[in-house]
Symmetry: D3
Subunit: 269 residues, 6 copies
């Protein structure tokens, strides 16, 4: 790429006007919803779960779903679970995120800081645990220890959406679409990374929703350079500009000369 | 009354078109709402509760409220608790009542049959327990044993609305507005009967809402007899008709001759 | 059974106070929720569906779910679908049922009478179709013809919950848990009868919720005869009383002498 | 104005703390609500619509309303339509705006990017189409071609709120309060600009709500200059300061010397 | 009709399974919704209202809508008003009806018994008053006296849906579609009877939704007589059976021999 | 502190990522909820209120609650009041805040600018008035004059949460937990400052939720200095850095030399 003087853009780093990452957001919405459907599938499985239905019905104490992380994945997992009538507890270390989630869900739900004592109480009666902790850099912290897993109910189901970043359960280990789950201490673990790949059609659709307007803009404005100059958000996705690295992390890792893309663009004016 | 050949009506037995008892219903709405306000008051009390606020806020695990009984009292207690952000669990032995409650509350809440194991799990983490079990005849069954109370949290608050019918906690004993609460096994008990009497103004208003149309009707139709003939619901409230007992229970208890009011009215035609 | 002079009760015919059948109701709630989870599973299947996710996200036109029948199955299928963000259209021939459903769902949804033209328009763009038509006697009517199926989208998913009564799609044919689906005209059909059997744990729990109070009552009242005399609802489930058939349909089919259970009970007094 | 050395403020350019334009926002809320009331009026008109009622009732497939644009106009049009029970589809090119709208409406509605195929499918069955696309500069893009209009239902109603900026339907042409509508290809078009002027009383009230605090502040602080120095938002509305143009667009158009208002104010300190 | 020995059915007297009148119910839903759209139209009218918009926006005190009667008309008028953001007060003399309405609307609204003092307080600040009182026989009672109208705001709008039964305002007098409104004491009165006729297309659709299944049944069962025997609800609509009056009221008025339709049908078996 | 060269942090000035003050926010949530519970307590008091219940029931016109200020206190007071079924009117001078509140509450409520005429109309029928106006500096403005109080209903209850900043009622004067209320012009005034201190347990919990992560971070990063350098929000709470005043207000008041903490931190890099 360097030799061919390519301008390369990583779409997951493109930002929208509000400074968020639309691709990550879209994939997280999908991952959140899918994680709950997977949980329902394994709960009803005769071997892995125990023939239980995810949901809540009058007179039967509802499925207890514990969600770790109040970001987009957690929000959409919670929406699906609430829709089926489950009882949802959400843990996060940011009061700010918990409050925003509560506003988005339009219903006052059970939220709590990630205090070990509260977490353990919740895990003991949980039927489903979703790991949806996102780390902005490096590995997700391990939040649930093996000892806590041991105290969970036989037949409970864990979906570790954080597995892409190493997972947030001590007992998590990478699985794949062929052998997606394993049991440990009586608890079923689903640890396939990139959960959105389970629904490739929907995921592609979401991506093209986002990329098409950018491609159209490039066409209308006569080339990528012009778009990069005018659109701050797209510019943030550039990691190679005419073969020059504009990504600090890559430059550091591969010892490439680095240039700041914003300065490069300012020079163009 | 017998000698004066009085026609006497007990307003709590008057029925509306749907066959329900409007006075009991109105008093139950008030009792349900009031019970939750009392729970809030005692939870925040420095001695009886422990300076806690009833409700739920982002990041603080919400107050857990257990409600025994899914009738009108339970419904209005649940409404108030949900409004303040508390987490509500409702127990009843009738799936039918739990389903109706869920429909009325417009939100899928935690409901369960009154199974001792589920009850105990819920009591152990409860901050507030409302006893709202109604028995259609005789004493309410004792649902929560002293042993279960012992396992509750220090500083929890019990409001036994069922105390009018004997109470549904083994540890309940009648109190009054002067000394409304006592502590036992670290749990505060509020056992004042006729809870609606705490808000006499509102209760009177509710009663007159219901009685005024009947009085007007008596005036318009030229007397009580005419109303009793035409209005099946009012008729059900009659326990003395011209000095004759029309209430089976009273007749049996006091060895009075009994006449069926419906037959008496049919004879008038 | 006849020789042993058994008293036999079919629990699906037991009625509650409101005259509805609680067992059928409970199984229908489970079937409705499960049908939507199955639809999600097959929609995301690489072969049967096309890797799509059931749900709705900003900017992607949501999954279109058509539900035939506005009874309990339809209601709980709709709840789950709405919870995941799908767009739901419900068809029924009873305005009364559609109105009740709308009240229960707390949201104004798309409802329509089963007019062929409206149905076809809805089918053409549908991703999921749930057959939840219940016939009070005999076979469910065939509502969707093979010709209508032909006009559906490639990769759409049909869950025929009515298959227990013969199915409401012309193309439906019985399948089982081993080979649950087949494709026809590009549309995946799921036609396993008794869908609640997919989640046996939950279904058993729901049944015991309902049967335990009856068994307790039998114990308390000293025998089944006493309960049958006092409880009109349980009595409706009796099809053999001391070896005498009390079910008209069975008597007619097997040429057994028939006795009306209500008359038998009245005689006991 | 120049000669008199006037300081002139255009209130539609005044910003609030969040950087939005409160006057435009208020007028857009009004326009959105009003557009739906106009749609209802013309749908029920014997000549223009066909005696239909905007709304949704059990058993009748609900009115289909397509809204182009997910800004404030679109939001308030959607609120009114949903309130009457209509079925609403919203199109926009910004996933971000669609998501925000969905959060504000508290209900998951049908949203989609403006893809021609999806748009055409929606238009074919639409009863009402609201054009609520806002262009931040220049003419709104023409989104619906004459050919698409031809495929709409006879008697459908178009309200082009974007007509102030040229309209977003190819067939739109300016109308006025006297002859507000015309029919083309069987579709009724309402293209009166400045829709909020239909309800002058409410619009004036909304304006004075916004202007009164500014006037009071001017009074308290002893003059407009002091307010302009301290209040960044009001300052953005200034286009003439003591007779000097502070609006780039005006200066360019009329060849007036231009001064940046922020720099002018900084100089005052 | 008598001579031709016709069997005549009045569709507004046909009952459904729940004992309600589906035609009256459908027309009432339409009338309720339409009444609010008319109120919006006249409120925004430059002469009759005062250019106000029906609705509610942040910072502007919302339109106050008073609805007299908590039946179906009142419910659908309230739904439309709440959807536009208006503030709704509902009055009825039946606590039972108010409670049911509140459950159906899914939001706790302002309800009150029809006490003159409360009514007057509400009228003084009302922008719109809907008269939706239904009398099961004879004329609707006159609830709002001319003196109360005098105390209303200039420019308020009254829609008297009860005008079919004489109206519930002392100042109401019948108008027609040509001159639908008049002003009195500064208040605009709309008193066109049969409001559903404003939207004939929707009204016809609702009627045919209801009548088609009956006609199909007549076809399938080989004639009207068979349907009348088996369907209790349809039977209630019959007022002439083979030329014999089966309607008590008609028989009394026109001195026709009367026969009870239920007895006639029983004889057929 | 100066001599000991202490670094001192005022936690109420620490900011989160969104630039808001989390401690003030948390205390305001608690104050809002508590204020409504206090209002309920005094309304039902036989002497201060008049035995009324705060709330709303079918057929009884609901409690009218007026809230001055649409900030966090106002929001949580409104949530609690709505939950109990009261009718809420909110006044604020910022349309922006009213709009945000409405979005957060998920229900269109009565909002209005603080216009004296509208305020007086609302006060005349109010049962409860909450003063929740926050002034960013200095004393809160006095919004309700003694003359307006005189026109309020006998037995109404005022909770002046703004009393910490001087109160927003002309008649307010500081009270304490021992004698929390007084009556004036028939209106009960509750003017205890720092309302959150009524529920110390919950308030402490909320504070430690917020402080624990900061203390952990200090531990992990090896000292407060490192945290101050990297965390902009915590830095804003510093008023003494190694004994040097970094708070402009304190420096001015006590004539201490002042240093800007941001510049100090920048120097450290």
């Amino acid at each position: 790429l360097l030799n061919k003087r390519i301008t390369a853009i990583a779409f997951e780093f493109i930002q929208d006007k509000a400074g968020t990452y639309p691709v990550i957001r879209a994939m997280s919405e999908i991952a959140g919803n899918t994680s709950m459907l997977l949980a329902a599938e394994y709960m009803s499985h005769p071997e892995y779960g125990r023939g239980k239905m995810l949901g809540g019905f009058s007179g039967i104490s509802p499925t207890e779903v514990v969600i770790l992380g109040a970001g987009t994945v957690g929000e959409y997992a919670a929406r699906a679970a609430l829709g089926m009538g489950a009882f949802v507890k959400i843990f996060d270390n940011s009061v700010y995120k918990l409050r925003r989630l509560q506003n988005n869900l339009n219903t006052r739900i059970y939220t709590s800081m990630m205090q070990p004592r509260n977490l353990l109480t919740a895990l003991r009666t949980a039927d489903v645990v979703i790991g949806a902790v996102h780390s902005s850099y490096g590995r997700t912290p391990c939040i649930i220890t093996e000892d806590m897993i041991r105290q969970m109910k036989e037949g409970a189901v864990i979906i570790d959406v954080s597995i892409d970043q190493g997972g947030c359960f001590e007992t998590s280990r990478l699985t794949d679409h062929k052998n997606p789950v394993f049991k440990m201490h009586g608890v079923t673990h689903y640890c396939v990374p990139n959960i959105a790949s389970k629904v490739p059609h929907t995921a592609s659709y979401a991506l093209s929703n986002f990329l098409t307007p950018i491609l159209l803009k490039i066409g209308e404005q006569g080339g990528i350079d012009s778009v990069l100059r005018s659109d701050f958000g797209v510019r943030q996705g550039v990691y190679l500009f005419n073969g020059v690295s504009t990504n600090k992390f890559l430059s550091d890792t591969f010892h490439l000369p680095f240039q700041d893309i914003n300065l490069l663009m300012a020079a163009f004016h």
